[in-house]
């Protein structure tokens, strides 16, 4: 197949890319842009390790073609830290021992970030729903939920 031209903003930087018509966003990010924080686990939408934020929404980058994304905005885990300082969500994951092997962590962070961008004060149920599509084989999820809760302030009724 031939190449498709796409203009894309990734972590605040604009790119004009030529991508294959079957190229997944996951491949573009990892291979062309070297953003290897995006992880490939299952490749079929089940594990969430490849989660990025696309136009404000969490998506599986293994199930999106880059060709679909002209004029879109993507944020990966590399886009969270600013000026060499971790973003509070990342620091909270460290402080609450929400990282073990770390393979799920970038995806978890992006799902949590997508939630917090929409609702800075989610309750526990909303946090769990936001993480439904992210599997973790190490932590048992509890520490991850606590890390996110530490930033959300008192739960609204």
């Amino acid at each position: 197949m031939e190449k498709v031209k796409v203009r894309l903003t990734v972590n605040g930087n604009s790119f004009c890319l030529e991508v294959g018509a079957k190229e997944r966003l996951l491949d573009t990010l990892r291979e062309q842009l070297r953003l290897t924080g995006v992880k490939e686990g299952c490749s079929i939408g089940e594990c969430g390790a490849c989660t990025v934020i696309l136009n404000g929404e969490a998506v599986n980058s293994c199930l999106v073609l880059t060709g679909q994304l002209d004029q879109s905005e993507v944020v990966t885990v590399e886009g969270l830290a600013q000026d060499g300082r971790l973003e509070p969500l990342q620091q909270a994951f460290i402080d609450h021992h929400a990282v073990q092997c770390g393979f799920c962590t970038p995806g978890m962070l992006m799902s949590a970030k997508a939630l917090l961008m929409k609702d800075p004060h989610p309750g526990r149920e909303q946090i769990k729903t936001a993480l439904e599509g992210n599997l973790c084989r190490c932590t048992g999820y509890q520490q991850i939920i606590e890390a996110i809760e530490s930033l959300t302030g008192p739960e609204r009724e």
């Binding site: 031209k5 679909q68 997508a114």
Partner: protein
Amino acid sequence: MKRKLAGKQGNRPLISGRDSNGYFLPESLAEAVNLLGQAGEGLKVLAGGTDLLVDLYERLIEVEGWLDLGLIPELREIKVRAEQIEIGAMVTHAQLEKSENIKKTLPVLAAAAAEIGSPQIRNRGTIGGNVVTASPAGDLLAPLIAYNAVLELVGKDGVSRVPAGDFFCGPKQTIMKRGQLLSRVLIPRPSSGTIGCWIKIGKRKALVIASISLALVVRLAKGGVIADIRACFGAVAPTPLEIKAVRRLAGGKRLEQLDFSQVGELAAAGIAPIDDLRGTAAYRRNVARELLIQALEKVQSTGGEIIADQADC
């Protein structure tokens, strides 16, 4: 039209056979139909990609090009009119789940959309893709049949409208013809006495393919008489299945006049289940009976609370 075809074939207006290798982003439905009409089997209609890209990864399909519906504005719209609700084929599950209008007028559909896959899947997956994929476990299909939805198909020979109940003919098989697109889903606006219930049973809470699901929609006339009742199951038969015997038994009666276990038997007898890794046929018959009883009880006691139960197989 934005035509994203680079290189030597860049300006060819026609695509066919081995030339159909490209990426097409039509900006109107007419253009999309035109392109599809000229293309071969290898040109795939691309909506959210959550079914197609899994099939591509698993090498179940041969793709020579994409017809991406993402730039056709009308396909993304939800319109609530006096007579009917019109949902564009590219409306995502997340849109359905969050739309105040859908929650108010079609709560059973909203509840089903809210339980699909995961947030990531709901943000990309569309109603059109769910319908055209026609998986027996497609979660929007039973609610659409229960609400009497009509599917609008557009092809080069014009527009046709098909009741959702007549659209599915087998697992992953529909009456849609090559060259046709699904443009909109049209749902008669339920009258104010309409209540309902959605139940999906799977092995775990998130990311489950239903082992059985039930959409129940009951329209009550004045005095509580059942003017219409649709009990539609998912994942119990090769296609989503309405148990029409329920309509015959219950129509014209009041809910409290019904023997719910008798109605439940109609479900157990009416489904055509299979044994698979999500449950045995006998299990599914038992669950179908119990689900219908439970749904009727809920509808009666709460006036139509939406339950979204999960249970272990």
